[in-house]
């Protein structure tokens, strides 16, 4: 085997056999963000033969605080292109397969079918449940990682007869109970810790060495430096999924068009915009953007009369959650309105214009 991998081949519990298994394995990484990048950097360094990259986002400035593979010059580029370029330079022997789309109901089975293992490095519940169901249907294990502030989860789901994501969390939380997608903050280094732990589990799964985190949820609390391991069992009915659900997207961030606070700020500086602030009158009075019209969420039945419905209408609240709900509410009756959520809301705007 390659001298390049000598330092791990010389390990008694690893050896040339494990290296060969890595070389022959095919791993799909869904999401090229905070979790996906360290997973890819280390799997690529260690010699995994085929790596699938899947994402359709572009690099934004505020990604750089935790997505360490990207440089400042990559801002605005497609993540897929930027990540592929750097990973190729790191290891020219790896076969890269590029999937220039998000993982959705209509492509999930076809994409996952050709891989041995899936790494869930996504940032939203709908895709996590989709990965779970597709992996159960195709009988593939997947390595789960997820974040919240200073905390992270790691587990290996659907490994042989082991439990699945639905054995822990049977149903998707509704969109107003747990922060989803971009709304929630995360300490820059947290995805690095969780992503490298995911990469380790991937390697253990491929090579068969050690004990895989199957049937165990590792919960890491970075503030308290506390690792808690929770045991849980397979619920047989969750292993019997035969087809995907009709919809995974009702809670998907991507259904509600959103704009980063940074981009929103540059648009504000260039043109006259239409903006609804759905916070309470008290919050509005505390501080608001001058072009904003205040209609609290519970009073929002329809658009103000003087708004042009053929032009884009921005909606803002404190953190981006109520404004998302406002958009869903308005879209129920008028699905064609061009509504756009200001991600992060006034909290983010305040960091931009202190």
């Amino acid at each position: 085997m390659d001298a390049r991998y000598a330092r791990q081949i010389q390990l008694k519990d690893f050896g040339p056999e494990a290296q060969k298994k890595l070389a022959r394995s095919r791993v799909l990484v869904v999401g090229l963000g905070g979790l996906g990048l360290p997973v890819l950097q280390y799997l690529n360094a260690m010699g995994v033969g085929t790596l699938g990259l899947m994402d359709q986002d572009s690099v934004e400035l505020h990604n750089l605080q935790r997505q360490v593979l990207y440089s400042e010059v990559d801002v605005g580029r497609m993540k897929l292109e930027a990540a592929h370029e750097k990973l190729m330079a790191q290891n020219t022997k790896t076969t890269f397969r590029l999937h220039d789309s998000f993982l959705v109901r209509d492509n999930a089975l076809d994409v996952i079918r050709d891989y041995d293992i899936v790494v869930d490095a996504t940032d939203n519940f709908p895709t996590r449940y989709l990965i779970n169901d597709a992996c159960v249907i195709l009988n593939k294990p997947f390595i789960y990682g997820a974040l919240h502030g200073f905390e992270g989860h790691v587990s290996v789901f659907n490994h042989k007869t082991g439990p699945t994501y639905r054995c822990l969390y049977p149903n998707m939380p509704s969109f107003d109970e747990v922060p989803n997608c971009d709304e929630n903050g995360v300490l820059g280094v947290l995805p690095g810790i969780i992503g490298t732990l995911q990469a380790l589990e991937t390697v253990k799964l491929i090579t068969g060495m050690g004990e895989v985190l199957s049937g165990k949820l590792l919960v890491f609390d970075g503030l308290q430096q506390r690792f808690t391991k929770i045991g849980f069992n397979t619920n047989p009915k969750n292993k019997k999924i035969k087809g995907l659900q009709e919809h995974y997207d009702p809670l998907d961030c991507r259904v509600v068009a959103s704009i980063s606070a940074e981009d929103f700020q540059s648009i504000r500086e260039q043109e006259k915009i239409q903006l609804i602030d759905v916070r309470t009158p008290d919050e509005f009075e505390g501080r608001h953007l001058e072009e904003a019209l205040n209609i609290p969420l519970d009073a929002l039945k329809s658009l103000p009369k003087n708004f042009k419905t053929n032009r884009k209408i921005f909606v803002i609240c404190e953190s981006g959650k109520r404004s998302e709900r406002a958009i869903r509410q308005l879209q129920k009756d008028c699905p064609d309105l061009n509504l756009c959520n200001v991600a992060g809301g006034m909290l983010k705007m305040k960091t931009l214009c202190p």
């Binding site: 490095a121 919240h148 905390e151 939380p173 747990v178 995805p191 919960v219 929770i230 045991g231």
Partner: protein, 84 residues
């Protein structure tokens, strides 16, 4: 009884742990099952009630609603998290 709080439950309660006095001291009736504990906590922290999806671990093992708990158990509330 010690309760470790993770994810949004920590944000709702405002602290990473909760400690309960044992029933004999407080005089109040203590929750005997996971379900009763959820109801008990929901009274003090109503926002916990809206969490339809919440894993509860008793002594590091996932526990159903009817799991019996006692004052020496270590409980953890682990809601799903989505970031990545």
């Amino acid at each position: 009884m010690t309760i470790l709080l993770f994810g949004i439950t920590k944000d709702i309660v405002g602290s990473p742990t909760l400690s309960f006095p044992t029933s004999s001291v407080s005089g109040k009736r203590m929750p005997n099952t996971v379900k009763e504990l959820k109801v008990y906590l929901g009274k003090t922290y109503p926002e916990l009630n809206k969490l339809s999806s919440l894993a509860v671990a008793v002594n590091n093992a996932y526990a159903d609603d009817d799991h019996i708990i006692n004052s020496y158990d270590e409980i953890a509330l682990i809601p799903p998290v989505s970031g990545g």
